[in-house]
């Protein structure tokens, strides 16, 4: 029996893994003839072909979510049905339903169902864009400025969800930033795919940093990226991103406590990644060398987290300087005490 079963099982498996998605994608093409073309359907109904094809939802196929679409579409004038996320993402939906934020926003307010990606493939800046439509940047900055020092910096360097989801495990993700052309003002932004592609000169974009292309970024490679004069206009910027996203968006008591992030020691973040823009708008995450207490980040001269990434060498030099200042009070003071008689004598004269 077993002998017969295996050969039968294999084709089914092959069918499931390759043929069904292929059919689904072919089915997608049926719809995308019109829907990838803004001239045919208008900008509001356009779906970016390249982007959609690489998302987790591409394998489902358009019809899986728009079940009521008919062969007469769009001639029938009936708007096809749109799937409810809850049907497939039960755990997250149940978690979100319990949160206080559930009354404020629906899944679709934050997610575009045609651009469904996990957090590792979304840049920190894009994550914040999910919140920005309701929580305007200026308003959010002002509200946080009531208690958060360096608010603009925090808002730029942290996705909102690092502070507003329960996930305790954070990593440092480095992005390639394009520097601003002007000296003043906050003109910097994430480097785009075309910019990086041009710089890579035909090679893969990851080779810009991962020079030996082993899908692993060593400290030396980070340093080489920074010191390469070709990369003058680029720099690496670290963001603290949560490793897992929980959907109970709320204010967490321990995020009031700055030492949740601003402390060194064994509890501090050790893991870091480099995240690079891909053609389809997603991000490719490559692991960077693990280092004792963020040592990996010494490769990036521009990442400094007060209280957490201080240099031990500087601490020692600083202490030596301060000790130098004690020489006079201690040394002179001792001699002064021992020779106090000399001065009393003069005083009496």
């Amino acid at each position: 029996m077993c002998i017969h079963r295996e050969p039968a099982f294999l084709p089914i498996l092959l069918f499931l893994t390759f043929v069904i998605p292929a059919v689904a994608i072919a089915g997608n093409a049926d719809c995308l003839v019109c829907h990838a073309d803004a001239d045919a359907v208008g900008e509001t109904f356009r779906i970016d072909h390249l982007t959609f094809d690489t998302t987790a939802h591409a394998a489902l196929g358009c019809r899986e979510c728009h079940t009521s679409v008919t062969t007469d579409h769009p001639g029938d004038g009936i708007a096809p049905s749109k799937a409810d996320c809850r049907g497939c993402h039960e755990a997250i939906s149940a978690e979100y339903a319990r949160s206080t934020h559930q009354a404020n926003a629906d899944c679709r307010d934050c997610h575009n169902p045609h651009v469904a990606r996990g957090p590792a493939a979304v840049s920190g800046a894009d994550m914040n864009r999910q919140c920005e439509s309701c929580h305007g940047r200026l308003d959010t900055t002002l509200r946080h400025a009531e208690w958060l020092p360096q608010t603009d910096l925090h808002m730029a360097m942290l996705p909102c969800i690092s502070c507003h989801t329960a996930s305790e495990e954070n990593v440092i993700t480095l992005y390639i930033i394009r520097r601003s052309d002007t000296l003043l003002g906050d003109g910097q932004r994430l480097a785009t795919y075309p910019e990086l592609k041009e710089l890579a000169e035909g090679k893969s974009i990851s080779s810009l940093i991962d020079r030996n292309e082993d899908d692993y970024i060593s400290l030396t490679e980070l340093r080489m990226f920074n010191s390469d004069p070709e990369n003058r206009m680029l720099r690496l910027q670290g963001m603290i991103t949560p490793e897992a996203v929980t959907h109970d968006f709320r204010t967490l008591d321990n995020r009031w406590d700055c030492s949740f992030c601003h402390a060194s020691g064994p509890g501090a973040r050790q893991t870091s990644y480099v995240s690079l823009a891909r053609e389809d708008g997603s991000y490719l995450r490559i692991a960077a060398e693990k280092g004792a207490v963020l040592d990996a980040l010494y490769g990036t001269p521009d990442f400094y987290m007060v209280g957490a990434t201080r240099s031990k060498v500087l601490d020692v030099i600083g202490m030596v300087i301060i000790a130098g200042g004690m020489v006079m009070p201690v040394g002179h003071g001792t001699l002064r005490f021992l020779t106090r008689k000399n001065r009393e004598h003069k005083e009496e004269e």
């Binding site: 521009d302 201080r310 200042g325």
Partner: protein
């Protein structure tokens, strides 16, 4: 005994500046230590309070520095005379003053420097204050201003060499100020009585003994 002669050595703006500065800098050092070493130093209830206090004290010190600069540079117009050591100071003065601190003081000899309002610092003071007030203070204030405005001044920060260099400079300069503070406060107690030099910094008037000159030494 003749009545003690008094010299008006420290004008009011200088005294206001000095004590604002002193309390400001002590606050900056303590809060700065907590900000850099949060896991060892927790003097203020939270990291936030330490940072807010540090930024406020930084502002106070920067404003009082401007007051000092304005007073000496614009009102009194004797900044250079008071703070820049003369050729003589460099050639003989410093050696003489060092000899006093390190040797003749212990033998009970008088201070070789006789302060007047136009020449109130001894040659060593001049050099030390010159370095502190014209190099250290402006640099530490500048690095502090950059550090509180990293986002808008990012390109400037990169020009300097990055955040790490900036932070390193701010920290080491602060350590130098801290070292100066210990020496400074100690030397301030070297008068006839421990408070002899500190009182004039509060009241403005320095008492001179008829038989023995008393001089600010700090």
């Amino acid at each position: 005994m003749e009545p003690a002669r008094k010299v008006y050595l420290q004008p009011t703006p200088v005294r206001i500046w000095h004590w604002l500065n002193a309390f400001g800098i002590v606050t900056l050092i303590v809060t700065g230590a907590q900000i850099r070493f949060p896991e060892y130093i927790q003097l203020f209830s939270g990291y936030k309070s330490a940072i807010l206090l540090h930024n406020t004290a930084g502002l106070v010190v920067a404003v009082s520095f401007s007051l000092w600069f304005f007073y000496y540079g614009v009102v009194a117009r004797n900044m250079l005379k008071i703070y820049v050591p003369s050729k003589d100071d460099l050639r003989f003065g410093i050696g003489r003053q060092a000899k006093f601190y390190l040797l003749t003081y212990f033998l009970g000899w008088p201070n070789p420097h006789h302060p007047t309002p136009e020449n109130k610092f001894n040659p060593m003071q001049k050099s030390a204050y010159l370095a502190i007030m014209f190099v250290l203070m402006p640099l530490i204030a500048l690095t502090g201003i950059l550090l509180t405005n990293v986002s808008p001044l990012r390109e400037l920060v990169i020009l300097i060499g990055g955040l790490k260099i900036l932070v390193a400079a701010h920290f080491l300069l602060a350590c130098c100020l801290c070292a100066f503070l210990f020496t400074h406060v100690y030397l301030a107690t070297l008068g006839r009585t421990p408070l002899a030099y500190i009182k004039p910094m509060w009241t403005g008037w320095e008492e001179e003994e008829p038989d023995r000159h008393s001089h600010p030494a700090a």
